[in-house]
Symmetry: C2
Subunit: 247 residues, 2 copies
Amino acid sequence: MSAILCVANQKGGVGKTTTATCLAHALALSGREVLVVDIDPQANATSGMGLAPVAASPALAPGGRDGIVPTAWPGVSAVPAGLDLERLAVRGLPSVLALKGNLARLGAGRFAAVLIDCPPSLGPLTQNALAAASAAIIPIQCEYYPLEGLVQLLAAVERARQTNAGLRVGGVLLTMYDPASDLAREVETEVRTKLAEPVFRTVIPRDPAVAEAPSHCLSVLDYAPRSPGARGYAELAVEVIAAGLAG
Amino acid sequence: MSAILCVANQKGGVGKTTTATCLAHALALSGREVLVVDIDPQANATSGMGLAPVAASPALAPGGRDGIVPTAWPGVSAVPAGLDLERLAVRGLPSVLALKGNLARLGAGRFAAVLIDCPPSLGPLTQNALAAASAAIIPIQCEYYPLEGLVQLLAAVERARQTNAGLRVGGVLLTMYDPASDLAREVETEVRTKLAEPVFRTVIPRDPAVAEAPSHCLSVLDYAPRSPGARGYAELAVEVIAAGLAG
Ligand SMILES: Nc1ncnc2c1ncn2[C@@H]1O[C@H](COP(=O)(O)OP(=O)(O)OP(=O)(O)O)[C@@H](O)[C@H]1O
Ligand SMILES: Nc1ncnc2c1ncn2[C@@H]1O[C@H](COP(=O)(O)OP(=O)(O)OP(=O)(O)O)[C@@H](O)[C@H]1O
Ligand SMILES: [Mg+2]
Ligand SMILES: [Mg+2]
C-alpha cells in the first residue's frame, strides 16, 4: 500500500509545487519508486518536470486509465495536469472520491510514495486530494498572510476526515526561510509553540537555486546538489521516511 | 465614472493582495477616495486592512446593498470578503456580471478608483472581476513559474473582453524584485521585450517591511514610509495616475 501525500495550502506561492517535486526526487534518490500527481490547473509541477499538460486530467477525468508517464528524473513518474482541470473544479467533479478511484485504476498502488500537488484553493480539487491522502504536508512561508490561512486549512483537513478517517497531518513545513528576518523567526516560534499539529524539524531556506531549477526542468537536487535548498529537501526526505510517511 | 482596477494573477503569492492594498493607500494619499473590494476566500486584504470577513460577500452574494465599510486608512474604504466566497466560486454565481451589478448597487461609483483583490485562480471569482474592470493590473514575481502562467492569464483577459469590450491591461507589475538575482534580471528582460502588453516602469523591490506591514494592519506606506517597498508603491501610484488608470 503506497503512502499518498497531499501537498496542500490555499495560500498562494508558499512552495507547494517546489515541495511536491523536490521531495519526490529526494525520496526517489533513497531508492523508492515515486509518483507525482499534478491536479493544479497551472500545471507547474508538470512543466517543472519537463512534461506538457494533457487534454483530460488522468487523475480526475471520469474513467481515467492510462495516465502515468515517466519523467527524466530517475525513480520519478508523473500523472500530468489536464487542461480540463479549471473546468472540472467549477462544475465537473461527481464526488470528492474521483481522485481516489482514478489513482487505484491508474495503478498508483505500485509506487512506494505518491505526492499530489494541489492548487492554491480549498475547492473541489484539493478536497479530492485530501480524501485520497494518507497524510497532508503543509508548506508555509514564515510570513503573516500564510500564517493567517493555516486555521482555515486545518479546518478543511478536519472536514476531510469525514470521508477519509485515516487522514493525518504529516507535518507543517517552513519554506523560504530567511534567518535574518525577524518576522520569520516570530512566525516559526508561533507555529512551533501554538500548533497542535506536527511541524517538521527540517526548515527549507530561501535559496535562489531552488527558484532557478524549474527553468531547467530539474529539481534543485540535480540542479545544485550542494545548495542549501537541495540539502533542505534531502533532509526533509530523511525526516519524512523516519516518520513513516513515505511507505 | 470610477476606474475599476482588477488585480489578478492565478499564480499564487505574486503580490496581488499587497499591490491592491498598498496601491489603494498610495492613491488615497494623492487625494482620491478609493475602494478596495476583496473577493478572495482567503480574505487577506480584509485582514491586512484590520477588518474581519462578513458572512455573505457584499460584492458577489445576490442583492448586495450595504457592504462598504470605512478602514483605518484615510481615504480608503472596503468591501470585505465574505465567508461564502469559496462556496460561491464552486456552484453559486448566476453570471459573470454579478460583481458588476453589485458594485453599482453598493454605490462604488462615488469612488475615484476601485481596486479588486482576486484569488489565485482563473475561476468564476476572477472572471467576475475581469467582467467589471476597466483595466487589469497583473503583479508577477520575476521567477519561472509566475512567467509560465502569464500566457494563460492574458488568454483569460482576452476571453473577458467578450462581456467587457473596454477591458485593457493596465500593466504588468514586477514585484519582489531582487536586483542581485540573475533569474530576476532574465525574467524582466523577457517580460519587457516579448510581451505586447504594457509593463510598468516601476518595479517593487523585495523588502521585508512589505511583509511585516500587514501584521500591524498597516500598508507599507504607513508602516515604513521611507522603505524601498513604500517608495515603490508611491511611484507606482504616480505612474498609474499618469496613465489615466486611476480616475
Ligand atoms: N526555498 C526556496 N527558495 C527560493 N525560492 C523558492 C523556494 N521555494 C520556492 N521558491 C520559488 O517561489 C515561488 C513559489 O513557489 P511554488 O510555485 O513552489 O509555490 P506554490 O505554493 O506551488 O504556488 P501556487 O500557490 O501558485 O501553486 C516559485 O517561483 C519557486 O520557484
Ligand atoms: N515587495 C515585497 N517584498 C517582500 N515581501 C513581499 C512583497 N510583496 C509581497 N510580499 C509578501 O509575499 C507574500 C505574498 O504576497 P501576497 O500575499 O500579497 O501575494 P498574493 O498574490 O496576494 O497571494 P495569493 O495568491 O495567496 O492571493 C506575503 O507574505 C507578502 O507579505
Ligand atoms: Mg504550485
Ligand atoms: Mg492575495
